[in-house]
């Protein structure tokens, strides 16, 4: 099929369960201009170079054609994921102070006990069940509870936040289909509501601080100063959304992959100490973020003999790079002991995932707790039903059932 339709085929929901043959086609074709004027990159070394290239912007105001930019990115205050240095760097540094080293080295490690308790509690609840939905019963509630605890979001507000998050994700969905306009509008409204919510919560924490990250963020004043209210709203919303949607996919993909490959399953059941490596391999083999749709060259850029013009939408297909045979041995094989594994699961370069250490800890603890429970279970359907998004790609449900 014509290489110009690759992006359309990748985003087509019919290919959500197995986009990997399309990614192989993409790598074969090299950098390809799509019918809609965007450029797709799926080879490892090219993606790595672009993620480290200061001429490649994450700020969509640099798009030549604003209609290629999701509505919410066109006006309101952007979070640092959508900004370039030096602004990105300033905001990320301020957000990092209450989150990790050097200023707060113990914050994530201190969450381990909490994460273990939450995870064991969830598993207890389905101990006697014969049918489980890994997403609803486990992979979703865990990271949401953890990110709310980290930020200091009260438990009772979680359903509201879930509804907003779903609308936000639907609003940035690039799957071809109807009601795009209304989906985008609903997404923008939800984001605004979430921003207001985070702004109000920050005001409360300013008056009545507790030991959460948001309280630290509003009281802290380091060398880069403090966040304005608008910056706080954008940063809080980013952390809340980025902090759980992806981790759900990672845990779910873990359960799915272990049930598909009994050898890997047995290895991890017998040697839980291999889990950190296995999580890295999951991030390579079934990454929660399949593509980064938001990059734009600030000048004409040559990528393996193709010139991508300034201002064009540049789409980096991380999940294709993760299976590039020029970079990884036997890339379509899930090998939980793989040594050389510098994957793109968390991106790379200045925007590499802020929350990676937390996501790792969560996934390692969650999967080590889940593995013994999977012993007598099998997948009820394979492939499972997928969520719509080709960007944050993962199962919507993962029904499993007791054997016999």
């Amino acid at each position: 099929m014509s290489p110009e339709t690759l992006y359309q085929r990748i985003t087509d929901y019919a290919n959500r369960a197995n986009p990997y043959p399309l990614y192989a086609e993409l790598r074969e074709n090299g950098v390809t201009r799509q019918a809609d004027g965007s450029y797709l990159v799926g080879t490892y070394h090219e993606i790595a170079a672009l993620l480290h290239d200061p001429r490649i912007s994450s700020d969509s105001r640099n798009r030549a054609d604003p209609s290629t930019v999701p509505m919410f990115r066109r006006n309101s205050q952007q979070a640092f994921i959508g900004l370039d240095d030096p602004e990105h760097d300033r905001l990320r540094r301020i957000a990092m102070r209450p989150f990790g080293p050097p200023h707060s080295p113990g914050r994530i490690d201190a969450l381990r006990a909490d994460i273990t308790r939450i995870s064991d509690g969830l598993i207890d609840e389905f101990r006697d069940k014969d049918r489980i939905d890994v997403v609803e019963d486990f992979a979703y509630p865990l990271p949401v509870t953890v990110i709310c605890r980290l930020l200091g979001v009260p438990h009772e507000d979680m359903p509201q936040l879930r509804a907003w998050t779903n609308a936000v994700i639907a609003g940035v969905d690039v799957t071809p289909g109807k009601d795009e306009e209304s989906r985008q509008r609903a997404g923008q409204d939800a984001r605004a509501a979430m921003g207001e919510y985070m702004g109000d919560l920050s005001d409360k924490r300013r008056e009545n601080p507790s030991d959460d990250m948001l309280s630290a963020l509003v009281h802290d004043s380091g060398p880069d100063g403090r966040l304005t209210r608008a910056e706080l709203m954008a940063t809080g919303t980013l952390l809340l959304i980025a902090g759980h949607e992806t981790t759900v996919n990672l845990i779910t993909n873990g359960a799915l992959t272990f049930l598909r490959f009994p050898d890997a399953y047995r290895l991890l059941r017998d040697k839980p100490e291999l889990m950190p490596r296995a999580v890295e391999e999951l991030l390579r083999y079934e990454p929660p973020v399949h593509l980064l749709p938001q990059r734009t060259p600030l000048a004409d850029v040559e990528i393996s003999d193709v010139t991508v013009p300034k201002g064009a939408p540049l789409i980096l297909v991380l999940a294709a790079g993760n299976r590039d045979p020029l970079r990884f041995d036997d890339p379509d094989h899930f090998d939980p002991t793989r040594e050389d594994n510098q994957h793109f699961g968390f991106g790379s370069g200045v925007h590499n995932c802020f929350g990676a250490p937390l996501a790792r800890v969560e996934a390692q603890i969650a999967l080590n707790a889940l593995v013994p429970r999977l012993e007598d279970f099998q997948l009820s359907e394979d492939p499972p039903p997928y969520r719509r998004s080709p960007i944050l790609r993962g199962p919507r449900h993962l029904p499993i059932e007791r054997v016999g």
Binding site: P101, P102, D109, Q364
Partner: protein, 66 residues
Amino acid sequence: MQIVVDLNRCQAYAQCAFLAPQVFELHGEEALMFTPTVPDDQHEHVRRAAAACPVQAILVGERAGP
């Protein structure tokens, strides 16, 4: 347990400093400091940090004896 960090590979992603904060410390934005002889209660932490280092810069050696 002994560790060595290959500082030619280390790109200061600081994963180790999150995962084993008692052993790996960031000084300023870039410089990584670590305790080469790992205290007993930190072995698990260090193994997890070594596994998560994106460039596999942390070399862990088990040494017998005292």
